[in-house]
Symmetry: C2
Subunit: 121 residues, 2 copies
């Protein structure tokens, strides 16, 4: 199992601003550190169930969802939790407990960073 630390993709001080690890792919070859950071992010979306959960959160009313809203992807509750944890570790989701439920929200700055990375000059 790889390290579970959060990605330094966005600065903790300014979570609303995309400060990607890496330049656009077309600008220059990535160095090893940049590639490690960005690959972790892509890998997190490289699983079909995880991607469905991620899109379920991203497309839910208000851009957030609790587990109760997004568990209809045909896998067990522990598997759902496992995947949500992976998405959080990659910095793609944030979560907040309110009463009984934990609510998940997409981190828009990380999506913006990925778009910038994939965008052309």
């Amino acid at each position: 199992m790889s390290s579970t630390q959060a990605l330094p993709l966005i600065t903790p001080e300014a979570p609303e601003t995309a400060a990607p690890c890496c330049p656009p792919l077309t600008e220059r070859p990535m160095n090893p550190e940049e590639a490690e950071t960005a690959a972790r992010m892509f890998k997190a979306l490289g699983d079909p169930v995880r991607l469905r959960l991620f899109s379920a959160v991203a497309s839910h009313d208000g851009g957030e969802a609790c587990v109760c809203d997004i568990s209809d992807v045909g896998v067990s509750q522990p598997t759902v939790s496992h995947h949500l944890k992976k998405l959080k570790e990659a910095g793609l989701l944030t979560s907040e407990r309110r009463g009984t439920w934990v609510y998940y929200r997409v981190e828009p700055a990380v999506l913006a960073a990925m778009v910038q990375l994939l965008g052309t000059r």
Copy 2:
């Protein structure tokens, strides 16, 4: 080893036009088929060495590179070839043999599809 078929991300008839498999993540939850297709694409970029090779091709003069141009990522030639093959299978690179060398080129329509997928409404 999973299937090695090319992704149906772009229509063969119109390779210049992005015709993504999937709506933006924020639009609606992905169905299983869409998620399978898109996850394969993200997974291909979910490896640091593969990502460095991909950015080396993407940022090379004219948007294409031969293996001779991009082999300085600190892995063996067979490993480079393996990763380039994976990127081709995911539809992210195309290749063409000219004389002694095989030239690799980034498929812009696939990048555009990924950007659209990650983009917000």
